[in-house]
Point group: C2
Chain length 418, copies 2
Amino acid sequence: MNNYVGYKCSICNAEYSPVSVLYTCPACGGNLDVILDYPEIRKKYHTEDITSRSEQSLWRYIPLLPVSDPGGEGTPLRAAGWTPVFRPARLAASLGLQRLWVKDEGRNPTSSYKDRASAILVARAREIKAEIVVTASTGNAGAALAGMAAAVGQRAVIFAPKTAPQAKIAQLLVYGAHVILVDGNYDSAFDLTIEASREFGWYCRNTGYNPFTAEGKKTGAFEIWEQVARSFQDCDKPLCIFVSVGDGNIISGLHKGFKDLQKLDWLETMPRLFGVQSELSPAIANAFDAGNETIIPVNSTTIADSISVDLPRDGVRAVRAAVETNGAYIQVTDAKIISAIADLGINGIFAEPAGSTALAGLKKAISNGIIEPDDPVLVINTGNGLKDVRAAMMAVSNAAIIEPTMTALKKHLEEKGF
Amino acid sequence: MNNYVGYKCSICNAEYSPVSVLYTCPACGGNLDVILDYPEIRKKYHTEDITSRSEQSLWRYIPLLPVSDPGGEGTPLRAAGWTPVFRPARLAASLGLQRLWVKDEGRNPTSSYKDRASAILVARAREIKAEIVVTASTGNAGAALAGMAAAVGQRAVIFAPKTAPQAKIAQLLVYGAHVILVDGNYDSAFDLTIEASREFGWYCRNTGYNPFTAEGKKTGAFEIWEQVARSFQDCDKPLCIFVSVGDGNIISGLHKGFKDLQKLDWLETMPRLFGVQSELSPAIANAFDAGNETIIPVNSTTIADSISVDLPRDGVRAVRAAVETNGAYIQVTDAKIISAIADLGINGIFAEPAGSTALAGLKKAISNGIIEPDDPVLVINTGNGLKDVRAAMMAVSNAAIIEPTMTALKKHLEEKGF
């Protein structure tokens, strides 16, 4: 417990010691920020002590994390994070951008950004000797917890609505989690998870409820800082980061990561954070547009299931992430989300809808003049396209079927002008 | 063309210069081995010149490859290979093994081992200025070619039987390949591909037909050598490698990689190669069992679609890979393949059936006494479980469904003895 000094409520500013609280603010229910011991870290480390570390995973940032080293060497837990950053030149040219990066989170062990949160949560669970970790999830967060827990033999219980896609339930089950389907919606699963964790002493990972999820997600910011932000000296404009937003925890985590670096005097320029939501699940973007922090629940119907959220659990911090960094929120149609899958695909990057949402938002921001050609831009693909093959099929035309003869082939090629 | 001196036929031993031939042996139709300039490589490099390279991909081995650097920096082409090797302690204990590694090829850019072959093929295509690369495929090989080609804007045509799973066709289409479904089986697609490549001058990637596919697949051997084989000095038994076998090209490629290292005097002990086939697709294992190299086609019906092959296109070299390394072929039932998905899953590794096949083979080899507790063993997971969610669901029991109340939850937990 020696890596952080306590918590501060993001709503009422109440402060708490590390041992006094586990989840949201006892006073007002707000999301808690973890406060690191910045003076101590600054005294002990220089940036090079971090960037020269050999571990090619998010664990290279352990000095900046509120958990001790969890062990688990040689397991997928140690292989989370440190995802590749691509520079797709043709995509940049087609968007008219001079500098474009795509960070591919689909390369994580369970194939989504959520592995970052779950890796830190499992580390925390081992530290506080929690026998069982529990979460409510409709997909990636649960798979990430199940996978990271399986890696080190941590027991996990996942509550999901019975309507969750079979593919995602399969992943939960294969990782050996105890999966309980709830005859109700995600919110009822969420509430039951909290009740069960209180009554049985299970450690609850629920996104935005547990303050350590944002601590895991902030490692994406550290990597962007190390892989991209420090490397372009020829540009005086800040990096613009586009990321899809559902419950708001990833963009909050990114913001926290950059704020940590700023407090350590390791970050020269704060990147601008752009949250992208589906028009059919716009609770946080609505608040941003209204110019306030009041998150009004919606009835989400977007096809991008990973960011389909009625009541975002980390909405206030998510609004601030854009406001405080001179970013914005952008709403896109599901049709644009689907077509952005194909835009990434032809550059060799396969994204699920929640991943392509970020690119759809960038395209809209460019056409609106929010992003200019000389803005350096990074797009985060939050999940692997194999997570949702049905959506992928909507992004492309069906393939032609021909007889296996050269005559038929030639006719086909001629028709297609190939 | 300066990295290799020519080809040698694996059947009739005829030799060819680099420029005289593109595919199989013109004399007898046998698979060609690429011959590197071993004395020159030995003169120019020490092992440390390779192992100290910073590139975390298969391109770190470019001095040992028959292609020039293809460029494509900052694209998924440069991110193929250098997959993680795990040491799942609980799995090792349950198998009674002292040393067990799992190399997870599902972490490749298009989520399978096939990216290795396609990365090298695309490099080769750029070198010989091929406008179009074509392949026949029912899944992973096509996705790998489509993905690696998309990464660098290389045009690709994929022929697949119209019965191929929608999920795999989706991946091909999203990467922007020109996909043509053939009203026939894989063999008719294969033959049409070759005819089309002859007539149109397309460069044909067909596995086992193009000698460079094995050159890509050999990079897995280089990584095992660097990540594992050189690191255990406390054991005088050779490393035993278990890998699933369909057309035979991966095991042939692994064998070629280790032979290359041996010819450079960089490998102390040749690993033993164990090929695992489904009992429902056992053409190569049958030849091994019969003690000859005669590959008799079968009528494959295995659920493991990536290794479901009637007529293996690299069968002879695949038999030799086991014979010449004191390995063996092992046949397993589809039921064991499915249950091995769950064995890997509870250790945090999600495999498609062709991936879990290798573990199923290891389990059989242990029970037969072929593998002893002090044998060091490495299992290759050749593909990500997200490639075949239907198979994953067969590996696990359905989740329980409950009302979202604590009463219902307590009753459920009691029933389950949780």
